[in-house]
């Protein structure tokens, strides 16, 4: 049972088709055999009755003249075989006299003249009972129970007096060869049909089952190998299987979107937390730092002593504190209230900066800009963004490779895209890419992208990265006009 349920469609469909063909063949054969039996019985009865009538009429004269030989000859001629319908041939023909003694029979050795058929017992004993009980003048069919023979009896009547009976005995066994022939023919046809149907249903099963099998295989990969599952070649048809595949594809891509979204949310939440933390720390550090630097400055200008040791110590402290202030300042990006608007010249300036860097490693820099005039965006911050991205791209690009910068402004959106042809960023780095000090670069302080991210956030824009082998692109979108 379990085995049958778990069997692959590849087998199930052909087996079911075969079973259907077989079932139909058996039903039709049984119906045919039953029908044939009825038909044969009716034919036989009709034939036997008319033969019985003819014999009864013909035999009246020989019986009246006690002409046994003539009667025997007539019976012999009536027993001619019909090759097409052997069952129509009577097994035995008896002529009995009024006392139910054999007048003559087609089997003289079994039914000698003058003998009583009832002495043979079985069906013949019951025959006598039947003869006595019924209407002596009517033709009758007698089928003794449990007998392989049944009888059609016709009275021999002369001048209204019953001289005896003509009894035709038919074997039921003679039906068997006919049935066997019928069943054999049916079996042959069934086998032929099965031989034709088998490969057809196999192909049919493959066609029906194959897409389902692929779908099942694809589903088995969820959720572990979502991407592979999504990329599986699924049936693309309008039927139910096709619809199922389409629905499955939708489900997988939505699942993937959801996963992506969750990941992004996680990254941005973490970045926001890091941002809040750094801002808090920066403020806490900046307040005393300002006081300390002011104190050192005051002492240097108005201090009483000219103790060289004290001066050099203070100078050391001042340099250290200034470095702390720069670092903290870098962590904490703050837009200046007053800044000039971002203009196309800014892009040109940055290009000059970048080219001096690129020149050393033979990297080509391409700029596509549709910027014309200025945009209401803070120039300093925008330059910071572009500079950081360009420097990163140059650092990542292959020796002799290329970097591409696209600047487009459209519909109150500024699109920036910086592309390099260097190694791509592996997936595991993506999640922490924008976090401070997350870099693995030997140069730089690990704050470049963090600063870019902070600025973009402050300007209400978005940043995303696409990294494929040989093509890594940072895309930035910043709205303008509504904000600053």
């Amino acid at each position: 049972m379990i085995f049958r349920r778990n069997l692959s469609l590849r087998w199930k469909i052909p087996l079911r088709v075969m079973a259907a063909v077989l079932g139909t063949a058996i039903t039709v054969t049984v119906a045919l055999v039953v029908w044939e039996y009825d038909e044969m019985r009716q034919n036989l009865e009709g034939h036997a009755k008319s033969l019985g009538r003819v014999l009864a009429n013909t035999l009246v004269a020989p019986v009246l003249h006690d002409d046994i030989w003539r009667a025997y000859e007539i019976l012999q001629s009536a027993r001619e075989t019909y090759p097409a319908a052997p069952e129509l041939q009577a097994e035995v023909v008896l002529i009995t006299d009024a006392d139910y003694k054999v007048f003559v029979s087609t089997k003289p050795r079994e039914f000698p003249i003058g003998s009583n058929p009832a002495t043979r017992g079985g069906a013949y004993a019951q025959l006598r009972t039947g003869l006595v009980s019924g209407d002596a003048m009517a033709q009758r069919v007698l089928e003794p129970a449990d007998s392989p023979v049944y009888f059609v009896m016709s009275p021999l009547v002369a001048d209204g007096v019953a001289l005896g009976h003509v009894i035709l005995g038919y074997s039921k066994v003679s039906f068997v060869p006919r049935f066997v022939g019928l069943v054999k023919r049916a079996a042959l046809v069934t086998v032929l049909v099965l031989l034709i149907i088998a490969p057809i249903s196999w192909v049919w099963a493959s066609r029906t089952g194959e897409p389902l099998l692929r779908l099942a295989e694809a589903m088995r990969r969820v959720p572990g190998e979502l991407e592979e599952s999504r990329l599986t070649d699924l049936p693309n048809s309008g039927d139910e299987i096709g619809q199922l595949a389409a629905a499955y594809q939708r489900m997988v891509s939505e699942l993937k979107n959801k996963q992506e979204l969750e990941r992004q949310m996680l990254v941005s939440e973490r970045l926001a937390a890091v941002g809040r933390l750094t801002a808090g720390i920066a403020h806490e550090i900046n307040n005393p730092l300002g006081g300390m630097l002011t104190a050192i400055n005051t002492y240097q200008r108005h201090g009483s002593g000219n103790d060289p040791l004290a001066l050099s110590t203070l100078s050391l402290l001042e340099r250290g504190l200034t470095q702390i202030r720069h670092t903290v300042g870098a962590l904490l990006v703050e837009s200046k209230a007053k800044d000039r608007p971002f203009a196309s010249e800014d892009v040109d300036d940055l290009l000059i900066l970048a080219e001096s860097e690129a020149h050393g490693r033979g990297i080509g820099v391409v700029v596509e800009s549709n910027l014309d005039g200025s945009l209401p965006l803070p120039a300093t911050l925008m330059r910071q963004i572009l500079l950081n991205l360009l420097l990163n791209a140059l650092a990542a690009a292959e020796e002799g490779g290329g970097v591409r910068l696209v600047v487009e402004s459209a519909e109150k959106q500024l699109h920036l895209a910086v592309t390099n042809d260097g190694d791509y960023i592996p997936q595991e780095r993506m999640d922490t890419l924008f976090e401070p000090f997350a870099t693995t670069s030997e140069r730089g302080n690990g704050l470049g992208l963090w600063i870019v991210y902070q600025i973009v956030q402050q300007l209400g824009g978005e940043i995303e990265v696409e990294s494929l082998p040989g093509c890594t692109t940072f895309k930035v979108e910043i709205p303008y006009g509504n904000t600053v």
Binding site: D67, I68, W69, Y72, V104, R109, P112, I113
Partner: protein
Amino acid sequence: MSFLGKWRAWLEQKLGRTVVFVQRGNYREIIDLLRSGKIDFAWLCGYPYIRHRHEFRLVVVPLWRNQPLYQSYLIVPADDKRTKTIADLRGKVFAYSDPDSNSGYLYPQYALTMLGEKPSIFFSRTFFTGAHRKVVEAVGVGLADGGAVDGYVWDTLAEVRPDLTAATRIIDRSPLLGYPPFVARSDIPAKELDHFRQVLLGMADDPLGSELLGRLRLDGFVTGRPGLFDGIAQMAAKVGRK
């Protein structure tokens, strides 16, 4: 052409006149036709000839195995191994060929009479087949437990249809008796009788005639004399029919 057709053509050629064969199912009808002058000649059994010897004239007697004699055979089914003589057939079914036949009726009647039996009640049932060959068939299939048959017919049948005779067994052969003769009506002109007789007597020497005789398994004809049938006459006298 059938045998009778050939024989008829041969006779017509030899006799220089039209010949018509008339066949009937039993001797009685032939005898009636001969007596009423509707036919001229007949091939009859010795028994009816004896009974009407004063009305008919003997033409020729066929020669079988070079003798104008033959026997009656009493036969039983081949699977009946027990019956030795006709006496063992008491109460059985017996097949005769024709009530006017010597070999097929008179001889068994005679044989029973000689045993002191009454032929009419000795058997439980008797029937006539109308032909010797059919007696062989009736006995062979077991329809009759015994039968009386012309020995010439049985022996001939043993050659052409051995399957029929093999189903029977001979239990008794009669003494040699006069072979069924050719007879003529009593008022036949002497010239015609003689012409016919000469034609038949010369048949064995004629190429086509001897071929026809071969088909009949006969060797020829002799003039014969009525005394040849005395044996039959004696049996008829014993049985009590004249």
